[in-house]
Symmetry: none
Subunit: 132 residues, 4 copies
């Protein structure tokens, strides 16, 4: 099972709506089960550096099938996964990446959002992921 | 002047419509005036390797403000731009990338399309670019 | 549908057997439907530089769902896909990469082989792909 | 002296058996004395992001001829090897990588394992390394 473009676009639309509702400008990326990009949008005026971060968040969430912030809680100095960010051509391990599951609970992709505080990034990613 | 996300999405919608009309499955990328990605979609079943190619075509078209195929005609063995593809982390110089201009004729971004023959790629890119 | 490790190992075993039969030493790589590595072996004494080539051949075959040599026939100077090798962090477009299909004809991965002449590479890849 | 493919495959088989015994899904990589990949397997359902990590763990263990976790204990903030992970195209310095020695105690390669807790990764790597 893999995410379809139609569903990815629905998730992006929901995420964009939430971004507007909380007055933020976001980069939003969706990857499929193979961690390859399916769809991406950068809202007008969103941070340029967040382009790559949103894609890396989506990939990171699919690489380890968990929210990116969980990886980050383990990659701190002294943590069991310290500096895991050096793998896979660069991970982003703070919040804003969430795996996407189908109705059967199977992971079919992931969403990554970047452009504001990590709390806001996570909120917008959640809005996108919850359309499934 | 820079392309807006709303216009990029309009261009992608037009390109997708053309892709369906000619029975192809495309990767479609739009970059802004800074050659940075604004929007991207991969149609279901489109070649995975064309993901990167569509983005590189869009960037190449904006890097040199011309259709990618024109760059390619100059980068052949013996040509004046031989192996220019080694620059900028990799160019793609066959057809499918087209600069996008506003009503005043100013370049505000570019579209890159990949997933079929280069003729079809160019046709779909043209459908997207002509929405401006 | 994605290739399983058990099937990938069966394909590698068949490819190794063929490599021995024709007196060659090969690098053999299998990727899944997402073009991510599933299994790899380097036979004793095989060219070290063929390690990366075998993986890139497998990825290239999955990226475009065709034998790598077909891509190469289109990427020659003057060809429609000239210098496509600059995409996707480097393609290898001479023979030795073949898509792998399941019984229903769906592509579930690819095999890449490198270590001898491209004819021999293709023969060994074929031995692996034909186990499906 | 260098590890042979036959011995690498024996080590991978032992590591896989241990991975199954402790109910984990692992990526397992073996490199030779030159830190170049000899064999690799990704068990069905193993984390995709652990593919690269397992290879980097094996390379790191051979680069410095010690368990990866020892490098990690020196690369913490304030440590003598702080941020050594930036070298060699990315190291992984938490447990799961172990040098492989022959009967004479000479290092002939290394194994890297990733896919579960670092304790489990190390346990599975140990199962592979102890076949020598």
């Amino acid at each position: 099972m893999n995410i379809t473009l139609a569903k990815a676009e629905k998730a992006i639309a929901a995420a964009k709506q939430k971004a507007v509702a909380i007055d933020t400008k976001m980069n939003i990326a969706i990857v499929d089960g193979g961690a390859n990009l399916v769809a991406f949008v950068r809202m007008d005026g969103a941070w340029l550096g967040s382009l790559d971060i949103s894609i890396k968040k989506a990939k990171t969430a699919r690489f380890f099938d968990m929210n990116t912030g969980i990886v980050g809680s383990l990659s701190q100095p002294g943590g069991s996964l310290y500096n895991i960010e050096h793998s896979n051509n660069g991970l982003i391990t703070f919040p804003g990446g969430i795996p996407i599951k189908n109705a059967q609970g199977e992971i079919i992709g992931a969403i990554g959002v970047s452009g504001s505080s990590v709390e806001n990034d996570h909120t917008v990613a959640e809005a996108g992921a919850s359309t499934f």
